[in-house]
Chain length 476, copies 2
């Protein structure tokens, strides 16, 4: 049996142009060309491809739309990429139970489009939601601006069809609440393609709110904006979203999409959803909180058009940085939200000491920072300096009791950093669980967990993973 016999000759790509197109994901600074790209159309074809890889000892990397920012879909040179792009069927919709079942290649936004007429939507909303796939969202446990109130991907997936790394097809989870046994679905969500391939998912949908109100508040400092966030949450209010942008990102976004933002040092975008009466009362309370924290100006958007304009600048912020700087690195760290002001001051100090500009645009309510470190790779030493600054920002997050990644994942980019957050014993258990799903060690090797070759030895981390035993590690 050949790969062509499994998926059809048109769906095995081996030309240099095709392989180049799959050589990286959103972490474009790292590129590896695989041996082939395989595009199965059904769960059975995915399982047959995985069994072929096992029989031939070929490492494989699953890929959705390739919008990930941590190199989770970076190919392995000796391996194949298994692309899920052809699996884009809406399998079934159950509006009475507020469930939808879709194949993994369906885009995030198409899920909401499929049920919007029934008054339902799918809350997790990564910035890439127009193109990123549900399968990729599951692999990375994706978040988004509205996860503050509504939760991450893991809170919305109730069941999945899953091809194990041994090529078997399993059903994980259940359409009903709280299924028995070990929660294998939870460990698969966010496992970044290291345990197997989710080919179909059943998602919990949410009733569209009666009313949505969006509030923009301008502040004279990031400190004041950070205090406003703490005051809102401290008042017992959980808005659907609280986003923060600093002066550099506001100016870049303005230049790019003319969102009409005020000139200020920091702004908050706060969205409140729910029943009409409660939204009105909460909006008043939030307005009082931001004014008490020193906001110089507030604006509200109540219509869909006004709201879309207010969000346009936020959603364009990453891309807008391309107008300001030839290169930038997006860091992704998490801190307790009570530490926002202090950590932002620390980042400002790094900006001064490094001479590199740093923009901040992020999910303030979750404490999920996205500092953008600007550099020019044409200037000798700047790329290295940017990398050092990004690492120092992670140190600030860890020192504040935070985490090395909020929603972009570990992937290739942060596999070595895992040892800064977890002990050797923690990593050993993770690796044993990985081995329980993937005894062959062929599923996305080199991602998620540190490898001795790239990261050095981690004290107490004993990899019993067959990846090492088979000598594959040296090749990665």
């Amino acid at each position: 049996m050949t790969l062509e016999a499994i998926v059809g000759v048109d769906h095995v790509l081996t030309t240099p142009a095709a392989l180049a197109a799959y050589a990286c994901d959103g972490l474009t600074s790292h590129r590896v060309q695989p041996q082939a790209v395989v595009l199965p159309a059904t769960t059975d074809e995915v399982a047959a491809v995985v069994r072929w890889c096992r029989a031939t000892g070929t490492p494989w990397v699953a890929r959705g739309a390739g919008t990930g920012l941590s190199g989770g879909a970076l190919p392995v040179a000796e391996g194949v990429v298994i692309g899920l792009a052809r699996m884009r069927a809406i399998v079934s919709i159950d509006t009475a139970n507020e469930r939808i079942t879709v194949q993994s290649g369906v885009t995030n936004l198409d899920v909401t489009r499929a049920v919007a007429a029934d008054g339902l939507y799918y809350p997790p909303d990564p910035s890439s939601q127009q193109v990123c796939t549900i399968g990729g969202n599951v692999a990375e446990n994706s978040g988004g601006a509205h996860c503050l109130k509504h939760g991450f991907t893991t809170h919305h997936v109730v069941a999945a069809t899953f091809v194990t790394a041994t090529g078997e097809v399993a059903r994980l989870g259940s359409a009903v609440a709280d299924p028995p046994g070990l929660d294998l679905l939870a460990v698969v969500i966010g496992s970044e393609g290291t345990l197997g391939i989710v080919t179909e998912v059943t998602l919990r949908l949410t009733r569209a709110p009666e009313r949505v109100e969006t509030l923009l508040a301008a502040f004279p400092s990031t400190d004041a904006a950070g205090e406003a966030v703490a005051a809102i949450i401290g008042a017992g209010v959980v808005p659907a979203a609280i986003e923060m942008m600093d002066r550099l990102t506001i100016e870049a976004a303005e230049a790019a999409v003319h969102a009409g933002y005020p000139t200020c040092e920091a702004l908050l975008l706060i969205e409140i959803d729910g029943g009409a009466d409660d939204v009105a009362a909460t909006t008043r309370l939030v307005t009082d909180s931001v004014l008490a924290a020193g906001a110089s100006e507030t604006r509200t958007a109540s219509t869909a058009e006004e709201r879309a304009r207010m969000w346009r600048g936020r959603k364009a912020a990453f891309a807008a940085m391309g107008r300001v700087s030839p290169d930038y690195y997006v860091q992704d760290g998490v801190i307790p939200r009570t530490r926002l002001a202090a950590v932002l001051r620390g980042i400002r100090a790094l900006e001064t000491s490094s001479g590199l500009r740093i923009g901040n645009v992020f999910h303030a309510g979750d404490g999920n920072l996205h500092p953008l470190v600007l550099y020019d790779r044409a200037v000798a030493g700047e790329a290295e300096r940017a990398s050092d600054v990004a690492a120092a920002i992670l140190d600030l997050c860890l020192d504040a009791g935070g985490s090395i990644t909020g929603e972009h994942g570990v992937g290739h980019d942060k596999a070595c950093a895992m040892a800064r957050m977890f002990t050797g014993a923690d990593l050993t258990v993770m690796d044993r669980v990985r081995g329980a799903f993937d005894p062959t060690g062929l599923a996305n090797p080199g991602k998620l967990l540190p490898t001795p070759r790239l990261c050095g030895e981690v004290p107490g981390f004993y990899r019993a993973h067959p990846t090492e035993l088979a000598g594959l590690a040296e090749r990665l």
Copy 2:
């Protein structure tokens, strides 16, 4: 090193009276006396006890308050019970971030008591919440009446200190959202003591609602009550709780605690919480829905006293069955809530065909049934007939697309039934994950997964678990 040297001579129990007290949990029909009961006071002592068990090849069973209903804490005859009752410290409270850290032996209700003055509470509320421990809640992923809106234990645990089955201490999860790496915390929650012992947990707290309204609705049939549930959820309303009781349980509860319930075939207790305006509007909408579905009467409770009285009958329902029947078996199954009326009709048919009375009192909003099968063990054949009826009820649940347990867990009671819900491949992966945490197979053996001796061979389920290899299985 002896167990006495680790925990102190007063905290190793070996007298027949002490061992008899630990011979069963809430599933009192199964009893096994262990060799000893060990009561450690710290995480380090728990780890040392587990290492002692490993060094001596002694199986062990962790135990909280022993209120579980599936025999999850049933001892092993050759083993020890590790009781967490002495670990009842509130470690820290962080009201600004709405987090509390407690040791595993703290009771569920004591968590809420510790933060009530700050306007916070811990939502999951098993009926046993006055005595059951947080550690036991984590082991079983406990639910409760208010999990419909607020989620199960797994939705409220953000981090844990965890003693692995190899006796190492690990930190799982993170105080901040969405930590990286494999979600080991999620797989530990609900693993029923088969992976290790959680000694300390950090819980997400919830802001107490501005207003709570409780509605009681009486119906002429369980069909009409089931339709009301579907109508409420279908209208996009998610009450905090929707509980159903049928005639038999209403009468038993009335006789026991005089809650003042109306005489009817079925009643719903519906609790609505949130902002004051929204609660008022939602209560009107729910009242309209239940009247349209055929409710003969509705009552509301707005004060804490009225509400306590309304809940008293529901909370006493299980115990009240003791007045009606010498013995009863509590079944625990889940169905999609749109199938409520049909499955209740099926249970009614089983009552007729078996000649055994069956009471129903359950979490209707979640579709989590708790049929109580009444029998008298003094009457020859009745216990067996009750067991057959309970099994037939599970068949009804599985045929409706449901699950073998909602919140009581698999434990000893339903280990064999796992093969009716999962394939051999599913069970193999679960068992491999179990082995990743517990390579020695000494953690709560014989629970959660089927064993060949008790359940027969499950096609495709290959246990690579060392429990079998060491020949321990024959003794269990």
